[in-house]
Symmetry: C2
Subunit: 204 residues, 2 copies
């Protein structure tokens, strides 16, 4: 319905299974999203292909892109940069195609600032859903373990507040269906389609 | 996911096929919505059942409910009142069940004021979607017919602005699927579920 593609951002706490869910979405039927390939400064490994697994760049090239505002999001892990180049994302959205990013929560926060009308989906661990059982109903745990669990849960809930949707990753096929429903219905949001109608009227 | 039910409002211009789509939704699989029965002051017809087709009330009773703020929405057509009693809707939402209303645009406007966090779905005629073809590409039409079409289209677009979603009723089964996707994904909206998590944490 909407003429411009949607930027879909899937994120969540580390270990929640983002990569598995993303893979299952891209292997499922009726997926019409473009997957954005990340850029990195880490060395290419055997079997990896430039522009398929990653865009491999030198540290200098990567930093030049950061300074030019050409990275939608980036982070540094163990001495290497990883990030999403802006140009591909913009070009694909302009073509009316949806772009799917699966990134860490730090990256999602950067994208939220630059593209607030993206669709931000937070994948939650099933034990957050069953928070009470997990934290309270085990009388045998030491107090510090209970407190640590509460701290983690609190941080996850705080992260979640930045997102549009929270999807529980209890079973991968269910999480995939939920995410695909969300993307389908976001295309029908009035604030995404009404501009097209108004423009049509104005042009006549 | 969310503990409270959703109030789903399906509306759209008259003649768009709201009733047909609503019926198809209730006859489809996996529909878990409660349908809100309207109240009216018109006389009961042969074969109609109180509390099934309508709640039949006198004019005095209906006006007393209006004055007491007990009508979620109402309108008067050819001398009779039609409306949605608030009590049933609130009770059902509190039980965690979704309530589905299929009403005229005037009624939807009243509901929007009272329940802003409802899910408002505007059913659009397929010819609004193909606005340009309909209005411009027929060189033979008289100017006043073209202007009338533009006026109708403009009014429909203005109505649409009050809604969350715009769904084209090109084919009834497709419209039904879109609406069911929307309802499913609205249950995952962070602003609907995060309160539950925060409450869980606070209770511990």
């Amino acid at each position: 319905m909407s003429d411009r593609g949607l930027l879909i951002v899937l994120s969540g706490p580390s270990g929640v299974g983002k990569g598995t869910v993303r893979k299952a979405i891209f292997e499922s039927d009726d997926n019409e999203f473009e997957y954005s390939i990340s850029m990195t400064t880490r060395p290419m490994r055997k079997g990896e292909v430039e522009g398929v697994d990653y865009y491999f760049r030198t540290r200098e090239e990567f930093e030049a892109l950061i300074e030019a505002g050409e990275m939608l999001e980036y982070a540094e892990y163990v001495g290497n940069y990883y990030g999403t180049p802006l140009s591909y994302v913009q070009k694909t959205l302009d073509q009316g195609k949806d772009v799917f990013l699966e990134i860490e929560v730090q990256g999602a926060r950067q994208v939220k600032e630059k593209v607030p009308d993206g669709v931000f989906i937070f994948l939650t661990p099933p034990d957050l859903h069953e928070l009470k059982n997990r934290i309270v109903n085990r009388g045998t745990d030491a107090m510090e373990i209970i407190e640590e669990r509460m701290k983690v849960a609190r941080e996850e809930i705080e992260m979640m507040a930045l997102y549009d949707y929270a999807v529980v990753n209890d079973e991968v096929p269910k999480a995939v269906e939920r995410i695909k429903d969300i993307i389908a219905s976001e295309h029908f949001r009035v604030d995404r389609v009404i501009g097209k109608y108004i423009k049509m009227l104005e042009e006549m």
